[in-house]
């Protein structure tokens, strides 16, 4: 038995830490720890509810539009306002562009170097020396595509800039709609850039994932877990939000079910938060730290749906929609992400067509004095929820459950492992000194610790204990 700790797990949107126990060259136990402590939910209290969309974007640089969207939905829910038709389409385009940015950067900049040898220069060296299966021209082409991906991902951020003024942390996502009137020149620019991005995804990125799949077919058998999948629904088809392009839904042990967000509970037994009481729904969630808590090992809470650990992300979305049901594994996650990027690109072209120049983009509204709202959306890495309560016109309670909290969660009150932990069990480790396999399994989930937002209540003393990175 040997313990391996990968910390920092780099090439993720902020480093996290993974500890595995290896026996007979296989992972027999795994623990995922969040190492980030900021307290966004506490920072939000007392502020103007309209500020939440811009402020929560700052949780995460790679998926900021998803937070802006969830925050907008939450306030619209509380205020009872809907965006105009153009407003909904513009927001879909902004979020869609950020999806393309995130998926392209994740595959090429974060994930690829687990499978492909980078150029012989920093920061691609040092790195592991073994386990790379692509050689010669194939490897070279992949490296070339890496740098092309940098260029193309810049274009994705330009789409955000065209409609939101800047990227990341754009200004185009707010309750009530969006802000840039879709004039012909902007749409032409947007459409032309989008076309280049779509061509890249279709002709380079999707084939590259298939090249990886051919060279690493065993990764269809690695990182597997039961089909327990969750999605809140992505891209409202219309301003009424009666239906979403990627529908929300739940798969429990392979069986599709209707989404019921009241079935969500946050467990705290293995998280450094007080309270071993009944797990709570996020609208009534509590964030009180207890770093000394016996047996706990992560700052992430453990959200469960109907008591089950749920996986979110492109694979879950495509599975729920019925577009991809090959398997639940490391390689399936990678392939599904590229497929989803292609599908979103295509949808975006349709939304550009639907925009009506001259029609309104924003509906003004009054912030309610007392109200509650929930903003649920699909985000790049899975289901994202913002729960908001307004008292005296100000934010009284704000709770955020990010996709990474679902995917990277620790054990729950009943001892069930979190999804990444489940997926790690059984992973073969060829060389304990170069455990490249761990990163492959974890990164396929596109873990993002920037989005582990739960934090500490100020004034509560925190004992000086070692936080395993």
């Amino acid at each position: 038995m040997k313990k391996i700790i990968v910390g920092p797990l780099t090439r993720a949107n902020n480093s996290s830490s993974v500890e595995v126990t290896v026996e007979d060259k296989r992972v027999v136990d795994a623990r995922c720890s969040g190492i980030f402590f900021r307290g966004f939910e506490l920072i939000l209290r007392g502020r103007d509810p309209r500020d939440a969309s811009y402020l929560t974007e700052r949780i995460c640089g790679i998926c900021s539009a998803a937070h802006g969207t969830a925050a907008s939905f939450a306030l619209e829910d509380a205020a009872g306002v809907r965006p105009p038709r153009n407003g909904n389409l513009l927001r879909n385009l902004i979020l869609g562009a950020d999806f393309l940015q995130s998926h392209i950067r994740h595959f090429y900049l974060y994930s690829l170097l687990d499978y492909v040898r980078g150029p012989n220069q920093r920061p691609f060296i040092p790195g592991y020396t073994k386990g790379y299966r692509l050689h010669g021209k194939v490897n070279e082409a992949m490296v070339e595509h890496y740098f092309q991906a940098v260029e193309i991902s810049r274009l994705t951020h330009k789409l955000l800039t065209l409609l939101g003024g800047k990227a990341p942390h754009n200004h185009g996502l707010l309750a009530g709609g969006s802000t840039v009137s879709p004039a012909a020149d902007i749409l032409m620019d947007f459409g032309s850039k989008l076309r280049k991005i779509i061509d890249f995804i279709k002709n380079i990125m999707v084939p590259d994932t298939l090249t990886l799949a051919e060279a690493y077919p065993d990764y269809y058998e690695i990182g597997c877990r039961a089909p327990n999948l969750l999605e809140f629904g992505l891209f409202p088809r219309s301003e009424d939000d009666n239906e979403r392009s990627f529908p929300g839904g739940v798969i429990i042990d392979g069986h599709p079910q209707k989404l019921d967000s009241s079935a969500i509970r946050e467990h705290l037994k293995y998280s450094w938060f007080t309270g071993n009481s009944e797990p709570r729904h996020p609208s009534r969630g509590r964030t009180e730290p207890d770093r000394e808590k016996e047996g706990a090992y992560s700052w992430a809470k453990a959200p469960r749906y109907g008591g089950k650990p749920m996986e979110g992300g492109p694979l879950a979305r495509l599975w729920i929609r019925g577009d991809y049901r090959k398997g639940i594994s490391t390689m399936d996650r990678i392939v599904a992400r590229a497929m989803e990027a292609e599908m979103i690109g295509k949808s975006m072209e349709g939304w550009v067509e639907e925009l009506q120049p001259g029609a309104p983009v924003f509906n003004a509204f009054n912030v309610p004095r007392e109200a509650e709202g929930a903003g649920l959306t699909g985000a790049m890495r899975g289901p994202l929820g913002h729960w908001l309560r307004i008292e005296k016109g100000r934010i009284a309670h704000y709770e955020i459950i990010t996709p990474t909290t679902w995917n990277f969660s620790p054990r729950d009150d009943t001892g069930q492992l979190g999804p990444v932990e489940e997926a790690l069990i059984g992973t073969p480790i060829e060389d304990e000194n170069e455990p490249v396999e761990i990163g492959r399994v974890v990164r396929a989930f596109d873990v993002c610790s920037s989005c582990s937002v739960h934090l500490i209540v100020p004034g509560t003393p925190v004992k000086e204990t070692i936080i395993v990175p």
């Binding site: 170097l113 800047k166 925190v462």
Partner: protein, 349 residues
């Protein structure tokens, strides 16, 4: 105008700056991510000329990059020790993110050393001590930013606040790629750029958004937007342009100079400012929120006091100085070493 000239100058400089002078090698750069959303590194990737590839092959030796480096675990942390031992006084340290100081910095652990956690606080202090230059990339690293907002749950501080030496502040949430690339290019080719009293390169942060704004004539003629999405002056729906020093209106985002928040019909929220976000909120209100509800206690003071100053700045500007244009100068002084804001910030942080 100053800003425009600077913009053009930079465009001319960068291609020439790509190659170090004969006999010089690319300077080693360590890019540390501390308590951050990674938005500043992602923003740097948006640089057009030079792009990321040229940056790596022509301009710098990117020894450590928490987001994009291949190495993970102890191998990654080892690069930091190796660089400090082998190249003291030679490498440029770029820090992205705030530095949590609570519990000796354990709120942000960036890796392990000898099996023990290596905190961001410790790493910044050690690496900062023997770096040739220290650059704070983005508002978090430069001034604290959103994670240090009240009640600042992690007691996060700016890089300058935890280092004895001078830190070059390149703020922005995120930092605009040109600002950072331009600062790096200047450091490599010409040494330290001219800095203001908050150690920001004057090249990029020398003038207010308000003075450079394309919609300034709407302000002068009192044509104001009533809601986000209106194509007029954003002043009455919360624009912090009058108290924000950056060249966004000229330079625009991102590298292709496409747009910026006011062009997108939304208020500037002052994301480059030392008081961001507390002193700039609510984002959509004409005057900052000086009456925060009693939920927050002592840390409230930061938000309140800087908020009052922003409020004074904006309303003072409105009342007295439109014609004479004197207030921005007073205000700039106010941001400077002898100014009231600077003193207050010092006291508070």
């Amino acid at each position: 105008m100053q800003g425009k000239t600077n913009h053009k100058l930079l465009e001319q400089l960068i291609p020439r700056l790509l190659k170090p002078r004969a006999g010089e090698s690319r300077p080693p750069v360590i890019w540390l991510g501390t308590n951050t959303c990674a938005g500043d590194m992602l923003s740097l990737l948006n640089s057009l000329d030079p792009g990321y590839r040229s940056l790596l092959t022509d301009l710098i030796d990117f020894r450590y990059n928490y987001l994009l480096g291949t190495a993970e675990g102890d191998m990654a942390t080892g690069i930091l020790d190796e660089t400090m031992a082998e190249l003291p006084g030679e490498y440029i340290l770029v820090v992205e993110g705030t530095i949590p100081t609570r519990s000796n910095g354990l709120y942000c652990v960036i890796g392990r050393r000898n099996g023990e956690p290596l905190t961001a606080l410790q790493a910044v202090r050690e690496l900062g001590a023997s770096a040739r230059y220290v650059v704070a990339a983005g508002t978090c690293a430069a001034f604290g930013g959103p994670y240090a907002a009240a009640p600042n749950p992690s007691d996060s501080k700016s890089v300058q606040a935890v280092l004895e030496r001078r830190v070059i502040n390149v703020p922005g949430c995120p930092v605009l790629p040109d600002w950072l690339m331009g600062t790096l290019a200047h450091l490599i080719r010409y040494g330290e750029p001219e800095l203001d009293d908050l150690n920001r390169p004057k090249l990029f942060y020398g003038e207010t958004i308000h003075n450079l704004c394309q919609r300034r004539h709407y302000f002068d003629n009192s044509i104001f937007a009533k809601k986000p999405g209106d194509p007029w002056c954003m002043y009455k729906i919360g624009c912090k342009g009058p108290v924000t020093f950056a060249d966004c209106p000229y330079r625009q985002w991102n590298s292709e100079h496409l747009s910026w928040p006011v062009k997108a019909n939304t208020p500037c929220i002052g994301c480059v400012s030392p008081e961001f976000p507390d002193g700039d909120m609510p984002f959509f209100e004409h005057l900052p929120d000086v009456k925060l509800p009693g939920i927050r206690t002592t840390a409230d003071r930061i938000g309140t006091i800087t908020g009052v100053i922003t409020a004074l700045g904006i309303s003072g500007h409105m009342i007295g100085s439109i014609v004479t244009n004197r207030l921005p100068h007073t205000l700039k002084k106010g941001f400077s070493g002898n100014g009231m804001l600077q003193k207050l910030l010092k006291k508070l942080r």
